[in-house]
């Protein structure tokens, strides 16, 4: 935690995006999390991703639940819309907002406690419905805010700071997301922004439910030997299947990789994901293979990271429900009260 305000001065050579903003313009208030918390690095990655995509801050709505992780939206995009909801209820609040105004970019930020314990049902349903959003779980294996109790993602056999062994099985949020129908699923590590930032960018551009599980060490309660969510453990057991280069629809595509190692994945809006394969067998479009790959590696104690699954022709909740184009607040009286002839038609259809 820091009491000094972060000075407004910035590096004179900082690049500007096409809106004329530097990445500093995407920051929020100074973080009050513990010094060294992984969540702050995820915040920095979100800032960087939004800066690089030249997103207008007022086009973003950030929604969160309760927890250290859920506090972080205060620390990025200070000029965006935000809603800090109740514990585990980020998905439903976000779904409602999304239905009312489909034009905003929705960033849902949550923790492993918030999403895998109290909000587990909300999480699964939100994925199932294909709400067009980026769902980031800042996963530290503990309830950080309430002083480090094991969360539902803590691995069986891992040890608490006080030396107590966790005897419950862990929920793998990535597995649940895949099973529930998320159309973009990734896992990353707060200590690897090079991997994480392009994933966040791709998730923002993705239409549909995009889920990213970010392992984010809690330096206060879960960064000791015996933890499986510590900096050291994650670095040692990280098994990246691919590396993503995010290429916007605007920039010309030019990728200089050895043939066969790169796959181009086109998104609905023309953006292209250049996937540099680190594991030759891994296929990001094969849901079943992805699931078994994850099981297989989890059993060996490896943490599989990278873009794990993406659906090319993804759809979202609005497509499923055939809702009107545009936000509800732009509908005029004419559209909302179409008149007695229209009513007559509806009534006739029900007879």
């Amino acid at each position: 935690m820091t009491y000094v305000v972060k000075p407004k001065f910035h590096h004179p050579e900082l690049p500007k995006n096409k809106l004329g903003f530097t990445h500093r313009d995407y920051e929020g208030a100074v973080s009050t999390l513990c010094a060294g918390c992984g969540h702050d690095s995820i915040t920095a990655s979100i800032v960087e991703a939004c800066f690089e995509l030249a997103i207008e801050p007022h086009r973003v709505a950030k929604v969160s639940g309760i927890g250290c992780s859920s506090k972080t939206p205060t620390y990025f995009l200070g000029n965006s819309h935000g809603f800090n909801s109740v514990h585990g209820r980020m998905p439903s609040v976000l779904t409602g907002a999304n239905l009312a105004n489909r034009d905003l970019i929705y960033l849902g930020v949550s923790g492993d406690g918030d999403s895998a314990s109290i909000g587990f049902g909300q999480f699964a349903h939100c994925m199932r419905r294909g709400v067009n959003m980026v769902y980031i779980v800042e996963n530290n294996g503990v309830y950080g805010l309430t002083k480090g109790q094991f969360s539902a993602t803590a691995d069986r056999g891992s040890k608490s700071k006080r030396g107590i062994t966790n005897t419950d099985n862990a929920i793998d949020m990535v597995g649940i997301a895949l099973q529930s129908g998320a159309s973009f699923v990734a896992r990353s590590f707060s200590g690897d922004k090079k991997q994480l930032t392009p994933l966040i960018k791709a998730a923002i551009e993705h239409r549909g439910a995009a889920f990213i599980d970010v392992i984010s060490p809690c330096v206060a309660f879960n960064n000791h030997a015996g933890s499986t969510k510590s900096f050291d453990y994650v670095r040692e057991h990280n098994e990246a299947v691919n590396f993503l280069d995010f290429i916007t629809a605007r920039a010309p595509i030019h990728v200089d990789y050895a043939p066969g190692t790169v796959e181009m994945v086109e998104q609905h809006d023309g953006t292209v994901l250049a996937l540099r394969k680190l594991n030759a067998e891994y296929d990001v479009h094969d849901l079943e293979a992805a699931m078994s790959f994850l099981h297989h590696h989890a059993a060996k104690g490896q943490i599989v990271t990278g873009l794990l699954y993406v659906e090319n022709e993804s759809e979202d909740l609005h497509c499923h429900l055939n809702t009107v184009e545009g936000p509800l607040n732009t509908l005029s009286e004419k559209e909302l009260c179409p008149g007695s002839a229209a009513l007559e038609k509806i009534n006739a259809a029900l007879r």
Partner: protein, 596 residues
């Protein structure tokens, strides 16, 4: 890149841009903090030790520190380092009991110093308290050199000059005023153990163009005229004055003219405005006193009638650059321009002259007729004779004269002890962590966004009425505090310990200036291009540290670090710490204490 060895004093010294740029290496941020704390006397003493003339320099220094100041790279203007020095001098208490006392016992060594300017006075100040018998000869009756004879009183009041010269003379120095040294040979034969030549660069360049002889009565050499003004021999000038030249002497000439009856005073310069040698603030002050500056005009002829000057004729030129970027002034072909005037002051440069040094007394001169002087030891080719100040390498300024003086004093001391003068004492470094608590530092790490504060000036008409009325009034205590807070505390260093780092990126994320990067090591040029923010300022070092678990390196670009300490506050393991590095150049006197 190689791992940075921070135990080499120069590494962190360079980070303190102002101190590194100061020829005398004054510990600037330390004295600025003391001013902020209201400890003016302590701030003064730090200056006095390093630069000998804080009150004088706080008004007149060329301030090489300010263009170097990091604040100028972070926002627009540097910290007003120079004028804060004056604050220390203005608000200090009586400091006499804190000055060294005249040596109780002389050490039997006698040193002659030719000239009583800042260079000689600095040598004498360093040596006298150690027991050296210092005899200063000057052709003028009083000590001070050009600080007294050239710098106008409206920039430097006599009382300030007298006070600071007196502190030195009171150390038991023999000052022989009104005595011109006419022969080096004769001086060498007087049995001095060493001789320091600090006779300055006393000759003003003339302008040999048609009309010079005919109009001689109204054409004056700038520095001769200024010294006559300063001695009170001249107290008026014509209504219309032209000053030729674009350096600081020209600025002093034109501003003095405005105070001695000059109503229509112009400065005319060969070069363009930007290329003029005068400091920006000197030009600004002249323009403020209604003195227009005309550029790209080369004097061709002094026009005259019946033996009286009528004006100056100029050829119009423009700057052209050859492929190597060298400037040439070429005529534009436009008609010549004539400016009528009553008097001309020629301020087109200053030269050295050593008519009193016989060329066969062991002192070698080069092809420009300058003595061969070692810039490190200030020694000439005669092992007993040292040079410093303007006499050594041509006209510079007071702070260089002082710096030369310190080096010469060290050499003279070593010579008299029979030691190798090539061996120089290392600076003394004191390191102290500034951590007091989790968010508490023993320095003020909050960064103010304030712009540079202007120094209040005397009202113009009052200033122009009296040539002795000081123009600048100095900061008051309140302004001084605000200006002092703009200092970034560059001597409070960011010190990194790789073994403690868990590579959580907290420092990278919090750093407001994007100074810190964890990355794979590489070759410097390539590495500079792929940092968090590009490190394009090649004059600023990269701090590279290894010993990280992932095998990467921590690279910190020192360029625009605010020394705000946020990296250290954010670091969960204390891998970053803010440590104050006080770097004191060892002076002759201290070198002797160290050995004792």
């Amino acid at each position: 890149m190689k791992h940075t060895d921070i135990s080499v004093p120069d590494y962190f010294h360079k980070v303190v841009d102002c101190q590194w740029a100061c020829p005398a290496h004054t510990p600037v941020p330390e004295y600025i903090r003391l001013i902020a704390a209201g400890r003016y006397t302590d701030a003064y003493m730090i200056n006095w030790e390093s630069n000998v003339f804080p009150g004088i320099l706080g008004r007149t220094c060329d301030r090489p520190c300010e263009p170097a100041c990091r604040r100028g790279r972070v926002e627009k203007d540097p910290v007003a380092i120079c004028r804060l020095k004056r604050v220390a001098a203005d608000f200090k208490d009586d400091i006499r009991d804190r000055l060294p006392k005249p040596a109780e016992k002389k050490n039997g060594k006698r040193i002659a110093l030719v000239g009583g300017g800042p260079a000689s006075l600095a040598v004498a100040r360093d040596l006298a308290p150690m027991g050296y018998e210092c005899v200063v000869f000057d052709q003028d009756p009083q000590a001070g050199g050009m600080m007294r004879t050239q710098i106008p009183k409206f920039r430097l009041p006599e009382s300030v000059l007298d006070e600071e010269c007196q502190y030195i003379l009171d150390l038991g120095i023999e000052f022989v005023g009104g005595k011109r040294i006419d022969s080096m040979k004769a001086l060498l034969s007087e049995g001095f153990d060493a001789i320091f030549v600090g006779c300055g660069a006393p000759r003003g360049r003339d302008l040999d163009i048609p009309g010079r002889k005919e109009a001689v009565k109204n054409i004056h050499i700038g520095i001769d005229w200024l010294s006559s003004v300063s001695f009170g021999h001249i107290d008026k000038i014509g209504k219309r004055v032209i000053v030729l030249g674009g350096g600081n002497t020209a600025m002093d000439c034109c501003r003095s003219s405005r105070r001695l009856g000059g109503e229509d005073v112009k400065v005319v310069v060969r070069s363009g405005f930007e290329e003029m040698k005068a400091s920006p603030w000197e030009k600004e002050d002249a323009i403020h006193e209604d003195i227009p500056i005309f550029n790209f005009l080369v004097p061709k002829e002094f026009t005259h009638e019946n033996g009286k000057l009528t004006g100056v004729l100029f050829e119009k030129v423009k700057a052209e650059y050859d492929p190597k970027g060298r400037r040439k002034l070429v005529p534009t072909g436009e008609p010549d321009q004539h400016f009528p005037c009553d008097d001309v002051l020629v301020a087109v440069g200053q030269e050295n002259a050593f008519p009193w040094i016989e060329r066969d007394c062991g002192i070698e001169f080069d092809k420009w007729d300058m003595p061969k002087v070692d810039p490190k030891t200030m020694a000439s080719s005669n092992p007993k004779v040292f040079f410093g100040g303007d006499a050594a390498f041509g006209p510079k300024n007071i702070i260089w004269a002082v710096a030369h003086g310190h080096e010469a004093a060290i050499s003279i001391d070593r010579l008299c002890r029979g030691e190798d003068i090539g061996v120089r004492p290392a600076p003394q470094v004191t390191i102290a962590s500034q951590k007091m608590g989790i968010h508490e530092w023993s320095y003020d790490n909050e960064i103010t966004l304030d712009k540079r504060y202007r120094v209040p000036h005397r009202e113009k008409s009052a200033a122009l009425r009296n040539i002795r009325a000081e123009v600048e009034l100095g900061y008051d205590v309140e302004l001084a505090l605000k200006e002092a807070e703009r200092c970034l505390n560059c001597d409070v260093q960011t010190v990194f310990t790789g073994q403690l780092c868990i590579e959580c990126d907290a420092c990278v994320d919090i750093c407001p200036m994007d100074c810190i990067t964890f990355t794979e090591n590489g070759e410097e040029t390539e590495l500079r291009g792929r940092l968090q923010a590009p490190a394009k300022n090649l004059t600023q070092d990269l701090y590279v540290a290894n010993n990280l678990k992932t095998g990467r390196v921590m690279v910190k670009d020192e360029d625009v670090c605010l020394h705000c300490g946020l990296c250290a506050e954010r670091c969960p393991t204390g891998a970053w710490d803010m440590q104050k590095y006080l770097i004191d150049m060892t002076l002759a006197e201290q070198a002797c204490h160290l050995k004792a």
